[in-house]
Point group: C3
Chain length 395, copies 3
């Protein structure tokens, strides 16, 4: 096996955008938990750094020429893509697994992802440039299956650490915004021709903008007092990017893209409000970050959109060879393989010698990280305390 380098400098700035999404976007999106920020951004980095190496190998195996793996800017983008699936699944199990478990999950998931991606793009010859199906739906359903297998009955009642603070919610917005801003690059990164690449950028841009406005409106509507909810703003605003992934580069109208984004926003908000609590209480699927609403449902929506668009289009432009049946097969196989792979992986992660965190220690950095002591303000206050006591005593 030898690695050959190809020349694609023009893709470099698009690659950088995707790279920022993987490390800053996913990493900071998950920092919302009040005591799990080190793990969110740190273990995210570890998973991504391992995943992109393993992804280069796995995807390289399927595209080898003469026993050589070609390394290029494009293969780096694909490696980042494969990493994204593991990071999405990380969101589903966030706070409930150890770093070692996550490394095993990363290796297994990326391997299965590479096989499914080969099936979808080479066997079914379906389109999925932005990975609505192969990346987002795959990562979400894989993660949901894992979290189902790793179900912790002790966490039925909300864990005291499973909540945000004011500042951690702002940290999470760093992740949200960088994902939001660079999603057009994500959906266009592997589009082969420049005009279609521009189309993908513009469609994703409008889909996200429409999704954001709809999410804000709906967030206020579903709240009893009409207030916005940070969880929804951090996550559902991104659903428009996910749902646009399958047919971003197809010649659909800007208004169609905005409709898709709006529907994605609606689905995602409703999912967070009604489906996630139901999944947790009825099906024992505890989804920490709500990846089902951000990646799962909008990913399926993207897959369905792909079926519809390939069915109704009549032109002969690029991508006119895609058929609705193959798109449907791609969607079905992706979800099936994701669920099966997730159950299998969950089973392996349950092996006793891997060591499990106790329920009490979930969502807590201090189990795996050296954590600084509590901040000073209160200690300072604590020092003032005796003065208070004294003044009170004097009275």
């Amino acid at each position: 096996m030898k690695i050959i380098i190809e020349d694609h400098l023009i893709l470099h700035s698009v690659f950088q955008d995707v790279h920022v999404m993987i490390f800053i976007g996913f990493g900071f999106l998950m920092t919302f938990l009040k005591k799990y920020g080190f793990s969110s951004v740190g273990i995210n980095m570890l998973i991504a750094a391992l995943g992109l190496q393993w992804g280069t190998l796995m995807q390289g195996f399927w595209h080898m020429e003469g026993g050589k793996i070609h390394v290029s800017i494009k293969s780096m983008i694909n490696a980042d893509f494969s990493t994204a699936t593991a990071l999405i699944s990380f969101g589903a199990v966030l706070g409930k697994t150890s770093p070692v478990q996550m490394l095993i999950l990363t290796v297994l998931e990326i391997t299965i992802f590479a096989c499914n991606e080969h099936l979808v793009t080479r066997v079914f010859e379906a389109t999925d440039v932005g990975g609505s199906m192969t990346i987002h739906a795959f990562g979400a359903y894989f993660g949901l299956a894992v979290t189902l297998v790793l179900h912790r009955p002790g966490l039925k009642n909300k864990h005291q650490n499973e909540e945000s603070t004011y500042h951690t919610d702002i940290f999470a917005m760093i992740g949200t915004l960088f994902l939001w801003l660079f999603w057009p690059s994500f959906n266009s990164a592997i589009v082969p021709e420049t005009p279609s690449m521009i189309t993908a950028i513009i469609n994703t841009y409008f889909s996200l903008a429409a999704c954001t406005v709809v999410t804000f409106a709906l967030s206020s509507l579903v709240d009893q007092r009409g207030k916005f909810n940070m969880v929804l703003i951090q996550n559902a605003t991104l659903a428009g990017g996910v749902a646009m992934g399958t047919c971003a580069d197809l010649p659909i109208h800007c208004f169609a893209a905005m409709c898709i984004g709006s529907i994605a926003g609606i689905i995602s908000v409703l999912g967070f409000c009604f489906l996630t609590p139901l999944l947790a209480s009825k099906l024992n699927i505890h989804d920490t970050c709500g990846v089902h609403n951000l990646h799962g449902l909008p990913g399926v929506l993207g897959g369905i959109t792909g079926i519809v668009v390939t069915a109704i289009r009549t032109d002969t432009g690029p991508g006119s060879r895609f058929t609705p049946s193959m798109q449907a097969a791609a969607l079905g196989s992706t979800i099936g393989i994701a669920l099966a792979g997730g159950v299998l992986t969950g089973g392996i992660l349950k092996l006793p010698f891997l060591g499990h965190t106790s329920d009490q220690n979930c969502f807590d950095d201090s189990v795996y990280w050296e954590v600084p002591e509590e901040e000073k303000p209160c200690e300072i206050h604590s020092n003032n305390y005796h003065e208070h006591i004294r003044s009170e005593a004097t009275i």
Copy 2:
């Protein structure tokens, strides 16, 4: 009306820089208020997402060909530009308006902006590539007029929430730095020719660098104890980018750019120290973020620079057709239209059925957002409290 897509991939990385400025730059710059971070970064996102769609339509109407709006990377840049005006005005009224009021302001301001921009660039044929006049001065004076009309006598005395904390000041620096770093892209994004684009990048880069050094020096000089002031560092360091906007692509010398940046820094610092308190106390113009000092005065400086440069230049290079009289007309019309538009918009926002926050609830996220409870450290301390009491009691 139909939307057509043009091909400008080369502009994509510049567009991304501008996009980051709008969402991360403006959003985080305003997070300095201790209890208004969700609104700063969240409502900023909402305004921008709505604004870019509305801006695409408004600017499209003026540039239609055969009843079709052309959508391209360039139109996306222009849409982001039009959004910037609304975000600048948001800075002036920050903490004192409701999200619904901001949406109305966004739609009205972008409509008026598109008309003024058409007037400046098509009727007067003036130059303003980086929008010193049409974006920055326009947004600032529009916002100041709105905040004047919405004057709250109850806020004469400083509101207890109108201040920063240590961490929110660092969040704001994220905004400052991304604005600072990508300003050269902002000022060069719509320059039509490559060599002039490079000129615009380099001039803005040096203007900002000089402005930053001057701002630090002056910040220390105007302080009684010689200390730096975060408000100045967060804002006045950017004035060099604003002031460079009108003649960034004209063949001025690097040293001239550095002089412009230095003067902008001086004006901005002095504005924050002396003018803002005066505007608030004498003219009832309460400018939360000090946009008059960051966008207003440096924007006017940029407009004046444009008049001077077009008056004294003698070469026949690109842009030699611009005349000082038309530049002056552009500056005057921009400020006039901004003030009139702002008064009109402020009047509409005052309509009683829009609902107003009470003075007490200003600068407070919890009115419009679900906000997590106070952070744990103090509660933990609170638990230790009884032990203290007991030990004290024992004594």
Copy 3:
């Protein structure tokens, strides 16, 4: 002297990446100290803004043609590079110097850097595209020499402010990640030919990925309880980028790049754990950010790698004219000049009229900045306090 502008738009997106590293990367990496965030990100900005102007002049003098300094995207990249050396040295003395001292250091260090860089690239004709030697090792040893000369015996025992808090460690990760993400651009920015540029990007990408995995593993291994340490994750994960700087664009194998990254990670982690405490206690070299482990040792490793690669390569591709002896001369002269320059600069900074912070005031923003008062939560608590007292009293 006149400044001429050249045309290199293609380099613009790479320049932006480097620019982000300098201001966001270095700035936020140093925000880990609990009370020194304003200075870290603010003085970093001041140093960089001054440094890039001075660096443009200094490097311009050596490359003048007909008494004119050429300004271009490339010269802006080189100016940012020269600034990096001052920022690395800032890391060594962080918290122990005044802003005025830092400005003097910046001017002196960039001047000496420009001379050494001329010596290395023009006289020795050695290769060092990513500046392992000329930037990283130079900046680190310069800073170490300065901190030795400015030794404060009163800080032998750990200063109470020389530690992080939970949130400041997350702020620092913003810096780490942007440095990590854009390091491939840093190492490829001044590579003259496109294919070699791609090579540099890919080699650095894999070196960093391998380094990160090794750093996490080793961080857990060296800890008594097997926990990860944020200091190591924030810093040692970047060593792979530093070590790759000298031969990033040479035709080495991807696996070789990964080996170099792994070794860099190991060296860096071991340096933090064992060498830094030793330097502080035995040699009176107190290195606040541990730049010796992030820039010093990996920079020397990069230099040695350059010697080895030029010695064993047999092809005649680009860069085949470099010789191991000249590479060794470059490494030796760089370290020698850095140490001598650092001692000289330290001596100048010790001049009594420059004003020194007392030991007690080290690592504290409030000496040079207007700092907001302590955060509210505790004051709120303080208000609840009397109620507690009363309820206690009632009992």
